[in-house]
């Protein structure tokens, strides 16, 4: 029996040998023949490349007060992918988290849901694989609890991160100009060639205002870390890294204090107009700039607190911001609002008249109404003010003088061009001058969104007619009602520049619209001797260490085709507007001996509503430095609403009538604020920053 068993043992020997040889052969194949590929697989296993978000640059005012600051905060982020892996798909963990963060569960849910065609804000616009910040003001205790009980909160992290901080009250006062940040979308990644942060969830991109315009400079350069990780994905060591480069600091010519004062004065003016029986007065804008094109304040009403963008916006906040029910506070009315300029427009009409040989002294009749081409056009007053010069016409703001000039000019200005519909028809004389003052096109200010306003050139009229012709032809009736007759006429010859249109346009009504910023820079050009600047908010870019990266100067956009004597003539008239003209009442008691202001009022009548109150001014009249423009639609006369508001702003700039001077000696700082070694901002000598 033993021998038989021993024979069978041989089989065991053979089997064991076969098994061992199989193991050895397989090992040889794995480790020696194909080991290289496994070695690279192992390297991939062990490292993760993460993009380190750079610290975003600050936005400062002219004395170094931060409008937008960075501060470090404990940010609690939720990784959707990891939370969804919970056995119940996440709700129980999110309930725990909401309780810990003392946050409404629904709000938490809203913040981490993904945006989509049917899902609107608040929602997450970024990559679903990025941790989504849900709380940017977490306390140390909360953060510790999250970090210590990762078993309870898988996929939830609490990290110290730099977050955007809007310095108040300046943040609200300049909300539209500053813009806001939102998580980057895939389209923006492709468009701007940005490396995406798959790590921190703070990969934000400027979406409006200065944040968008200077996004590239403010953003900095993302760093990269190659990390060694273990099987659980926990970082063990840093393999190698290139540090992130913080973004540059943007110094603006905005003065935070003046911005706030301007915003405040504008709001008071609007509220006052409301109180005085103009319920339609709900919006407005004010611009303060230097005569060399630097913007000192850009106010838009209504405004909002930009902090609502941080840490996710709620549905209600989003609706309030973009909805018309609350006046669309997201709009920057100083650059995007298009309003009829009214009589402030007459400086261009006067310049055109003088440039085309109309005698300054006239005399020009100023009746209560004139009839032009079969239509009657009224002055603002029905009484006849008698013959006058152009100077007096500006001071008294006599509309009928400009009606007659406009009609005369229409008669002489190639009326044949109006016979055929031609997109290349020559620009009318008066409209050519308006274009030269920078109207009818974007100013080119360093903001991403801007409206061009309207100068009704023949070309504009042609395209306008093309656009609405079909509608007019469908609704117009030759023998129908009043509107139907107009529509019938427009259908037939809407491209024709009629005398009536020329007359209306000469006093800043009809088709004419401007933005407050355009009006300000046109007055700046008149004030500075004829140079039209492209306005700039940015003044300089400083590196994080405070070195000057680049200076930003307002480029010259053109020169007014108005002789110096003619400019001086108009300026002299604008001085008299304040001393004895339409603005005299609004500036009664103003210390004009200390500060001579030149200005023009405007009351633009709008069909079916209260007039737009406009006031454009510059000072000191002898050597103009600043321009102040205020526009408040649907509020009444220029002298009643906008002029007093501008007076308040002038008071604050120069410290008059009991106001505290924003600029010592009325001089905006010439030097830039600097950044000290410790990162602190130092105001220019002689100025006090208010941090």
């Amino acid at each position: 029996m033993i021998p038989a068993a021993r024979r069978r043992l041989l089989v065991v020997y053979v089997l064991v040998a076969a098994l061992l040889i199989a193991l050895g052969g397989r090992l040889w194949y794995l480790q020696v023949m194909t080991g290289v590929s496994y070695a690279s697989a192992a390297a991939q296993d062990q490292t993760r490349t993460v993009i380190v978000p750079p610290v975003r640059g600050r936005i400062l005012d002219d004395v170094g007060t931060p409008l937008v600051n960075n501060k470090t905060a404990l940010v609690v982020s939720v990784n959707r992918a990891l939370v969804a892996q919970q056995s119940d798909g996440g709700p129980s963990e999110l309930h725990r988290l909401a309780k810990l963060l003392n946050m409404n569960y629904n709000l938490l849910q809203e913040r981490i849901r993904l945006c989509g065609p049917t899902v609107s804000q608040p929602c997450w616009q970024g990559s679903p694989y990025q941790p989504i910040p849900v709380d940017q003001q977490a306390s140390d205790t909360v953060a510790l609890q999250i970090m210590e009980s990762q078993r309870q909160f898988p996929g939830v992290t609490a990290q110290v991160q730099p977050v955007i901080h809007y310095q108040q009250p300046y943040g609200t006062a300049a909300a539209q100009m500053i813009g806001y940040l939102q998580p980057i979308t895939p389209q923006e990644v492709a468009q701007r060639h940005l490396p995406v942060t798959g790590f921190s969830g703070v990969d934000l991109v400027g979406q409006a205002g200065l944040e968008e315009e200077y996004d590239r400079e403010l953003r900095g350069i993302a760093g990269q870390q190659v990390l060694s990780v273990n099987a659980a994905g926990e970082v063990t060591t840093i393999h190698h890294q290139t540090p992130a480069v913080p973004g540059d600091t943007l110094v603006t010519s905005i003065n935070a204090q003046l911005q706030q004062i301007t915003q405040n004065d504008l709001q008071q003016a609007i509220l006052k107009a409301q109180a005085e029986g103009n319920p339609g007065a709900t919006t407005g804008a004010a611009v303060v700039m230097t005569t060399r094109g630097r913007v000192l304040a850009l106010a838009s009403y209504p405004t909002y607190n930009p902090s609502i963008w941080t840490g996710g916006i709620s549905t209600r906040e989003f609706r309030d911001l973009f909805g018309t029910a609350h006046g669309e506070p997201i709009l920057d009315r100083a650059t995007q609002g298009e309003y009829a300029p009214g009589s402030t427009w007459k400086i261009t009409s006067t310049a055109a008249a003088l440039a085309h040989g109309f005698a300054p002294a006239g005399p020009y009749g100023c009746p209560g109404a004139v009839s032009v081409a079969g239509h009657v056009f009224n002055n603002w007053t029905s009484s006849n003010l008698g013959p006058m010069s152009l100077h007096e016409a500006l001071v008294m703001s006599c509309d009928t003088v400009f009606y007659q000039i406009a009609y005369q000019m229409w008669l002489r200005d190639k009326p044949r061009a109006d016979v055929t519909a031609d997109p290349h028809a020559p620009v009318q004389w008066m409209q050519k001058m308006e274009l030269a003052f920078g109207f009818g096109r974007s100013t080119g200010i360093d903001l991403p969104e801007e409206s061009p306003g309207t100068v009704p050139t023949r070309q504009w009229l042609y395209y306008y007619w093309k656009q609405y012709k079909d509608y007019w032809c469908k609704h117009g009736r030759q023998f129908g009602g009043y509107i139907q007759q107009i529509e019938y006429d427009d259908c037939q010859s809407g491209y024709v520049w009629t005398p009536g249109q020329a007359v209306n346009a000469s006093i800043g009504q009809g088709y004419v619209t401007v933005t407050p910023l355009q009006l300000a820079r046109a007055y700046a050009a008149l004030a500075n001797g004829g140079t039209l600047y492209t306005p700039r908010i940015g003044e300089a870019l400083l590196s994080p260490s405070g070195k000057l990266v680049s200076r930003i100067t307002p480029p010259v956009a053109g020169h007014l085709p108005v002789p110096q004597w003619a400019q001086a003539y108009i300026k002299a008239a604008l001085i008299d507007v304040v001393t004895q003209g339409t603005a005299a009442g609004a500036f009664a008691g103003f210390p004009l001996s200390k500060l001579q202001i030149a200005a023009k009022t405007g009351t633009a009548e709008v069909a079916g509503g209260q007039a737009t109150s406009v006031f454009a001014s510059f000072a000191p009249a002898s050597n103009p430095k600043y321009v102040v423009v205020v526009m408040v639609p649907k509020s009444g006369e220029g002298a009643d609403v906008s002029a007093p508001c501008a007076r308040q702003i002038w008071d604050s700039i120069y410290g008059l009538e009991g106001h505290k001077a924003v600029f010592p000696g009325g001089q905006a700082p010439r030097k830039l604020p600097s950044i000290a070694g410790n990162g602190a901002i130092v105001a220019p000598p002689g100025y006090a920053g208010s941090v």
Partner: protein, 424 residues
């Protein structure tokens, strides 16, 4: 030079040992002669060690050294596999090293004790070991059993100790089968249906208990052991064929009646294509393969494995210890471990071949099959040629129960070896 030679003639060898033990003529009959009475008779220790009938002179030193080498390498690998994580957690990085050293020492003591047991005592002990192991398996199924790493195959003892009875069930079953099939009464030439039935019954009890745990790896191993030992027992070939047919039918029945749990079927099939499911069943296998492959010819060096340090292979100090060897010691180190295992297997089979009775032959070859199959399945799963099951690598993986059972088996081998030495 003289300094280098200071070790003298005794270095590297045990004093007095002159290589091969002298071949002794047989004394006494072909069976029933007992060797030397109690080995610890009160002579001087030196005299005892030197004596011609001393157990030391009948030790299979090649086997013993191979086992010690495996245990040493295993202990180092366990150290390397556990120290980064322990250090990171702020614990003593040598915790597992110290525990495994203790396991080895206890195991060696058990081995020595077993090797000193004589045949009669071994036969007497066999049913006790078997019954104890089966009782242990029963306890596991009771509320006293605990689950470690998903396997419900442990008994918790007071003081934080844990015992895995299935490890002892292996040696218990081998010895029991050897006893039933090898210790034939009436001088029948080969086991008959009665012995076969008994053997099947004796095998079935632990098998069913392990299936109930359920422990797939041990089930497969016990099945192979049963088939192996029964096949070697000299049973007629037609009986073996019948057994084979019955086994196949039984397997089909198990399949069709869903006796295998879905996760077990998944485990069995996942190894065919582990990358299809990288985070599930095949994850460990895929990671182990990457770790071993990245070791290449000479490895990253002990304590320098990056994947080891990152804990990429789950259970890398127990079931997947071979992946640590593969990454840190490379092909050279892994093939050394396989060579050492080959030595153990060849020596065990040699002891089986030289055993003078069926009990010794079956016990020794059963142990050889055990180590061979378990090593193959264990190493195979780390390199993707066998399914992932919870079988440790003998002598190398971390764990007390396994180490004790393995060392006990070596002790049994040594005891069998000593027995036949007398008649060589």
């Amino acid at each position: 030079m003289s300094f280098l030679r200071a070790g003298g003639p005794g270095s590297g060898r045990l004093a007095g040992y002159r290589g091969l033990a002298p071949v002794r003529p047989p004394v006494g009959g072909s069976s029933g002669i007992r060797f030397g009475g109690s080995p610890l008779r009160p002579r001087g220790l030196r005299q005892w060690a030197m004596a011609k009938d001393s157990p030391l002179r009948h030790v299979d030193w090649v086997l013993l050294i191979a086992v010690l080498a495996l245990a040493l390498i295993g202990t180092l690998l366990v150290w390397s596999a556990t120290q980064p994580e322990l250090a990171q957690a702020g614990l003593n990085p040598r915790t597992y090293l110290e525990k495994q050293l203790l396991n080895v020492v206890i195991g060696l003591l058990l081995m020595v004790a077993a090797s000193l047991v004589n045949y009669r005592q071994l036969r007497l002990c066999t049913p006790l070991v078997y019954i104890a192991a089966c009782l242990g398996l029963l306890v596991v199924l009771s509320p006293l059993g605990t689950t470690v790493n998903g396997a419900h195959s442990w008994i918790s003892l007071p003081g934080g100790f844990q015992i895995e009875p299935s490890e002892f069930a292996k040696i218990g079953m081998i010895l029991m089968l050897a006893l039933i099939l090898g210790d034939l009464r009436d001088r029948v030439p080969r086991p008959g249906p009665r012995e076969l039935a008994l053997a099947l019954g004796a095998g079935a009890v632990p098998l069913v208990l392990v299936v109930l745990q359920p422990d797939l790896g041990v089930t497969i191993l016990l099945l192979v052991l049963m088939v192996g030992v029964i096949s070697l027992s000299g049973l007629r070939l037609r009986w073996l064929a019948g057994l084979g047919v019955a086994g196949v039918l039984g397997g089909l029945a198990a399949w069709s009646m869903h006796l295998l749990k879905p996760y077990q079927v998944q485990r069995l099939t996942a190894f065919v294509n582990p990358s299809a499911d990288p985070r599930g069943t095949g994850y460990s296998a895929a990671q182990a393969k990457i770790a071993i492959g990245s070791g290449r010819m000479f490895g990253q060096g002990l304590f320098h494995g990056q994947l080891v340090a990152g804990n990429f292979v789950p259970e890398q100090h127990t079931d997947f210890i071979f992946s640590v060897a593969g990454e840190e010691l490379g092909f050279v180190g892994s093939i050394t471990i396989i060579a050492l295992l080959a030595i153990v297997l060849v020596r065990a089979l040699r002891i089986a071949a030289r055993a003078d009775d069926m009990f010794g032959l079956l016990a020794a070859s059963g142990i050889a099959i055990w180590f061979g199959v378990q090593s193959f399945i264990n190493i195979g799963m780390t390199i993707g040629i066998t399914p992932v099951t919870g079988l440790p690598l003998p002598f190398v993986s971390y764990g007390g129960s396994a180490m004790f059972a393995d060392m006990l088996a070596i002790g049994v081998l040594l005891a069998i070896h000593r027995r036949h030495r007398v008649f060589d």
